[in-house]
């Protein structure tokens, strides 16, 4: 049952959300014990959200993801009883931890857990709504994570512009997640953005959101040279990869491109985190605050570009 719980956890999503928690705390001014504790809330919330989504989507997943390691309902790794124990238990854990973030934290958590149900279950089932689905998902993941992190350190003025930027970045990324699920989604009549508007439009919108996110982050950080350089490089790389994604029909190549774009997005969050950590250090010089996030961001993006090249070469060798 522990293994199944971990499979519902979707570790990569938790890591991204937790990076947003840390970013929230960094923006607020300091990392506290509540920043660490938020990991439990994030992990439990993710299990809660993914478990009910997997339950609702199990027929679709039986087509799309029958060989996937992270769908215990499809693989039969857990019984119905175990499933509900995991699902309800994770919800309770999230609520219990949220109490430590004040009444606001508890109420927001209650709202987030409710969103899990309206997202996946009928009669509303937002996941079936072409536009509402990515909007709600991005809002839930970004605002909850970032807010927990911010409230872990401060209850001051909330950085709305930055959170909108992060939301747009997440939205840009979420538009691409459906490349993996096209076959099953079509068979079950789930009209995702990708299915409705096609690959080219999906990539264009994703690109626009990436650019908007970058510009907003730049604005909120007073266009700090180092950070903006790194983010601009990131957007440029993402644009190139989106251009490829828009035209490729090879499923494996699509997954490679979506994966490297997600990696670039994660590294952008890390670069922004570096900026705010530097910005709150009284002993750092102005040039260090500018340079350090830039060096970190650019290095990580160079790695992502090299990583993409290595995947392409491997794919070409396999095809031969």
């Amino acid at each position: 049952m522990v293994k199944a719980t971990l499979k519902f956890a979707r570790v990569r999503i938790i890591a991204t959300c937790y990076a947003l928690v840390f970013l929230g705390s960094a923006v607020a001014g300091q990392i506290t014990w509540k920043t660490w504790l938020a990991f439990i809330a994030i992990a439990a919330f993710t299990v809660h959200a993914n478990s009910i989504n997997d339950y609702a989507d199990r027929k679709i997943d039986e087509i799309n993801l029958k060989d996937s390691f992270d769908r215990p309902l499809v693989t039969g790794d857990i019984s119905n009883t175990q499933f509900w124990l995991i699902h309800i238990g994770s919800g309770l854990v999230t609520l219990l931890v949220s109490v430590l973030y004040g009444l606001g934290g508890f109420l927001i958590t209650l709202g987030i857990l409710f969103i899990d149900y309206i997202y996946s279950l009928r009669p509303i089932r937002v996941t079936d709504r072409t536009l509402a689905s990515p909007l709600l998902l991005a809002a839930a993941y970004v605002y909850y994570s970032f807010l927990l992190g911010f409230w872990a350190s401060s209850h001051g003025s909330y950085p709305w512009l930055l959170s909108v930027a992060l939301f747009l970045g997440f939205l840009a990324r979420l538009l691409l997640k459906d490349y993996r699920d096209v076959k099953g989604d079509k068979e079950h009549g789930k009209i995702t953005f990708l299915i409705r508007y096609g690959s080219a439009a999906t990539c264009i919108f994703s690109g626009v959101f990436w650019l908007a996110a970058m510009l907003l982050v730049g604005f909120t950080t007073s266009f700090s040279v180092g950070l903006v350089t790194a983010l601009a490089l990131g957007v440029l790389l993402v644009f190139l990869w989106l251009k490829e994604l828009a035209v490729t029909t090879d499923f494996a190549e699509q997954q490679v491109l979506v994966a490297v774009i997600a990696k670039a997005a994660n590294f952008a969050i890390v670069a922004i985190l570096a900026f705010y950590l530097c910005a709150h250090q009284p002993n750092l010089s102005g040039s260090e605050v500018q340079v350090i996030p830039g060096v970190i961001g650019v290095s990580l993006l160079v790695y992502t570009w090299l990583y993409r090249l290595s995947l392409t070469q491997r794919h070409v060798k396999t095809a031969r």
């Binding site: 570790v11 990569r12 890591a15 990076a19 840390f22 960094a26 990392i31 390691f69 992270d70 990696k263 994660n266 590294f267 969050i269 890390v270 985190l273 570096a274 950590l277 530097c278 709150h280 250090q281 350090i292 970190i296 290095s299 990580l300 160079v302 790695y303 090299l306 990583y307 090249l309 290595s310 070469q313 491997r314």
Partner: protein
Amino acid sequence: MAKNKVNAFALLLVLALTLAVIVKYRFLWPVLLFVALSFVPAKLVKK
């Protein structure tokens, strides 16, 4: 580029960041944490 060269680059990045954190920029430890986590291979995560 060969996979082992990319992995070597990743290791270099983590080492450089670790050195920076130890020597002068201790406050960057969350960055080191998430960079190191992001380099954990997908196969390990799946296990």
